[in-house]
């Protein structure tokens, strides 16, 4: 009887948090990608504002309900707009932002090619 009681206590202590380790990692990953709208410049993970603390609870609840990362981001986007995500998605408003570095790289490469390699051949 005593042993069962101990086992129950051990079980309760080790399972105190409703989320398991994998979910906690996911919670941290998601909250690091959410912008704290009150203290702009900080992520929800880093912030200790009232808003950020509530958002952490919501993310935890959503994970507990079995929602995945994308579903949680979609929920946040619906409530607060795309600005809340640090990792900007690829869409018609952001294609310039995403493609500019590749474009610069290609143009830079073309210049180098023209200046050094083709010139050397001549």
């Amino acid at each position: 009887m005593k042993l069962i009681r101990y086992l129950i206590i051990i079980f309760l202590v080790t399972h105190f948090n409703i989320l398991n380790a994998q979910d906690i990692n996911m919670q941290n990953k998601i909250t690091k990608n959410l912008r704290c709208l009150v203290c702009q410049g900080q992520s929800v993970y880093d912030s200790d504002s009232e808003f950020a603390n509530s958002l952490k609870i919501v993310v935890k609840q959503k994970l507990y309900e079995g929602k995945n990362e994308k579903e949680i981001y979609d929920y946040m986007k619906k409530k607060y707009g795309e600005w809340i995500l640090y990792d900007t998605e690829f869409n018609k408003n952001t294609y310039f932002l995403w493609l500019l570095p590749i474009l610069m790289f290609l143009i830079g490469g073309a210049i180098i090619l023209k200046l050094f390699i083709i010139k050397k051949k001549n």
Partner: protein, 172 residues
Amino acid sequence: MKIKTLPVFITIVFFIIFFIFFKGLQNSNIYVPKSEFENDIPSFKAQIFDSEKKINSTDIFDDGKFYLVNIWASWCAPCRIEHPFLMNLSNQKNLEIIGLNYKDKKENAKKFLKELNNPYEIIIQDKDGTIAIEWGAYGVPESFLIYNNKIVKKIIGPINKDSFLKIQERIK
């Protein structure tokens, strides 16, 4: 005359970058969510203030009537500033004011209402701030004007004379 392509190209790139940064300078870097939109109200279940009863959002809002959901807390100083406007709006016939008591202590909230009067038809409790997140709010005070189960206006920060007049105009 042969035009050198490289200097021309660099100049064009320079001007494009200059233009983008110059435009960026004029934008405010403080984000403010849109305040004019039509959005469905969220569904939630919340505890009624100073009671053990719980209420569903569907039981609060009826069609064909205006509601003003006001997020408030006794510890929030701007809530005191907007309170006279809320008291005034509570006298309007076709408007019901619903209070969302945000992360507050019951005793303090009661004192606040005793001191400044109670403009709210129903007050619901939001102890951990998750219902405010459902509403897409990020601070106190914040108010939402609702008609036919849709948010028709959002007021971020305390209600002032300007927003008070706009609400009055909208509910006429």
